[in-house]
Symmetry: D2
Subunit: 283 residues, 4 copies
């Protein structure tokens, strides 16, 4: 895979943005391999992602940032540029359920997910051997009703120590405290085992069985302070029938959960998800 | 298509039901062409649908009913037997939107939906010409805030006059009064333009846009007194992206709505949907 | 819907294309509402589609073409620019089967498909009343083994007389002669009732039943001289089971056929499909 | 999960089969928890699967077989009855690709797939550590152009030594010799990385890229002597676009492959797949 610089931009829409950015890139000999634009007619906001061959540019990422700054300021851009060769550090949080964790670890191990995983943290010790087989440090931080504050303090500490860029809640089943949500805003990815906004909160498959739905789903979203209400990255569903018990739904749902979570994580790692208010633009 | 008797049964589960029914059928030379069973482990209820070649039986539908009665009583069955050669009478209610109505009328006209459509009733006159092209009487019964009672009185009258077995709300957009819901319990089919229970009530696509979901859906369900809360027959979804405005969702959603409604109507016409509480068993 | 100019470009990839086009547009005050790019790493070819607010530009479509010509020549572009306010003329060819034709006519009639339909041509008279209800001229041009040449001569004549921009084969079931395929290259859209390349040629549902597949599909493609081998615009599938006979497949397949055809036609009308060799880039 | 006896039957269709089997079961107090029937109108063949609570029957599996024999003979049945408590022995064959193997091992390890896996055999040593982590013996049996016969001799030996009931080719990439196909007829499951019958044989994703399809798929089927032509158990597809290179297809396809393979294996383990000629009835 060729090395690219990924430029992502959000700003008020207007004439000349595409041209100005395009001219900046081409004036330095930059070869654009992917370009995406979206102008939201409701909010009047403009979104853009360019992927530029790194070797076609005569300067480093740092220089890119300096040289691009005037354009960013002219159009009041929120923006970022990243180097595809620099892996993001992803800390994974899990509980007892293994399906999402195994799926992410296998995709990482086989080279499909390009990132570093400095550690896995869990409130149970069950998945230690599995994680360690992958050569990844595993931290067991127990939690109960009495030690919540302590638990989250230790978890935050571990996340910070391992210099996490982003956090993935791979069926972690705990509600993160507000300060963690704020510190890592737009960088915590959760998988909820329902097609949100249906069946937010606890035991979504039981809720689904109760209502008699004919499809069950999963939702990958950024975590915000409001439970199960953050910007949605991806969703999917699977067909069920009257024959499927809650146990069947749990089993069938696992396949949707891990597919949707891994797609969401991949999009996030490739800087393909731009957030705007409570929505996402996914290029 | 061969003529069949369709026997549907709901009763408390127990040993010997399948055998007793099977023996009844075979002792009269009946040839079972389709058989479905489902025992719900939670409710302890048993559901069954048999489709028997009419010509293999030595008696009429009426005689079938008489002869089967003792078995039905022995197992405390809720049951019915219908003749596939006798078309159900379906009264369609619509408003201004044509997509669901056109779809149902075309499926009926081309012989795909086997039923009679004695009339179409609408609170607008827009779809008259279309309906009348199909040779079906069209009744325009206007409605406004002031004449609701009068409107529904006339609608009920028309439904009764046309001896409707079942009623299909093909994007009718009015809430039926409780007495109509009761009279035609389990025989009124609605299409709601969201993946219920998400976005019940008004303007579901606006709600979906607001929440930033990545899939939109439609739900075909039996109408009960509680709005958008009746037993679900079928559901489906379609993928959308950040690029889709509410108008795009409305357009894309139409395809899901008409597909899901026509599938639900077809299942209902073939006596393949058994209701139990707020759920459906779909054979 | 706002009026836009749609600029589509195919050319050998290189540095500066995006910038040059962007600069051209912005130097005239053009407001880009949609922009899509794709650089094919295998063929080294570059594809682009810009949608520009017509009112933001100080000139007409003709002037656009003149002013853009030098850039097009510099990069050896195959290109086109169209005005969203100018409807394409679509001639529909059908046979006896009504589902695709009804679907297209309804989408046109309800304003969903923005185009003109100057006439419908069929080798059977069955669909005349339906077409004429829509206020569209219907031409019955019979065909049999003996009069093929005559049939196609008359069909070609009608297409030319009605100044068709594009032709849609809505289950026409006849193989167009090579000269028609050539004259309207990239402008004849067919729906084949299988998931190509499986089951090309006649009776695909019979072939599917024979092979025992678990999904059946439909393929919308541009017609070329080689039967069922042209560039694919869209495809989709639907699940079947052992219970589905060929007749069931025919019925279920109709829904996929009409959905896929209408999506393909819509993409074509909006100039969103670029052809390259035997493939399509669908923006 | 409750223990059940699973009775599967294929025989020429006729009156009284359902009743006779139902009566047999109920006369011994048997409680039917699942019942499926299918009468194929084309072949005139009848298929049936009953799942009966083991504890409701007063006899063992062996006695069941003896007592049922007269009925089986009366209707010329091909039949089997299995005990859900007796795990099938599944030998897995793999090559270098890990995704299908990891998926099956994880489902087995987490208790989702109820079976024994006495060993994994591979022509490469790459996956040894992974397999052995699961506590399963791993056999590396290299193969090259010169030692094919020797390779397959050793593989057959290992399969026999481990008393395999069934064999799963989890992207094994070798063509099994005819004698193995015959010995384990209806018990070898393969995953082919295309939507068969499209793109049979080698490099299906390259073939798919060449043809420009818009969906790619995978097919789980029983292995027969004819390559990629055996009875299909399950298939599925995933949407791709012009942006997806062969490498992207390989990556996206992996998800479909492992989902379809695991569904097929699960159905096989639960005796839900009946074969008839080159087709399957999947209950």
């Amino acid at each position: 895979m060729q090395r690219t610089f990924r430029l992502t931009i959000s700003c008020p829409d207007g004439v000349g943005i595409v041209a100005k950015v395009g001219q900046f890139v081409s004036s330095h000999g930059g070869w654009i391999v992917e370009a995406n634009h979206y102008a939201d007619p409701i909010s009047g906001w403009f979104f853009m992602r360019h992927s530029i061959k790194a070797e076609s540019l005569p300067f480093s990422l740092e220089e890119f940032k300096q040289k691009f700054l005037p354009i960013a300021q002219e159009f009041s851009m929120e923006w970022a540029v990243t180097d595809s060769a620099e892996n993001k550090k992803l800390v994974l949080l899990a509980s007892k359920e293994s399906h999402c964790l195994v799926d992410l670890l296998h995709r990482w191990h086989s080279g499909e997910l390009k990132c570093d995983i400095p550690c896995v943290i869990s409130n149970h010790d069950d998945l230690r051997s599995l994680v360690e087989w992958h050569g990844i440090p595993f931290f067991h931080v127990p939690v109960d009703a009495a030690n919540k504050a302590e638990h989250f303090h230790r978890v935050s500490q571990l996340i910070a120590e391992h210099k996490a860029d982003s956090i993935v809640l791979a069926r972690y089943m705990q509600i993160l405290p507000e300060d963690v949500c704020e510190t890592y805003e737009g960088r915590i990815i959760n998988i909820h085992h329902s097609f949100l906004p249906s069946f937010a909160g606890a035991k979504p498959y039981h809720q689904a069985a109760e209502r008699g739905v004919k499809l069950i789903g999963a939702t990958c979203h950024y975590v915000t302070k409001e439970l199960d209400a953050g910007p949605i990255i991806d969703q999917d569903v699977i067909r069920i029938s009257h024959k499927d018990t809650v146990e069947d739904m749990v089993r069938l749902g696992k396949d949707v959960e891990k597919m949707v979570l891994s797609r969401g994580v991949r999009l996030h790692l490739e800087d393909k998800v731009l957030r705007h208010g409570n929505k996402t633009i996914v290029f």
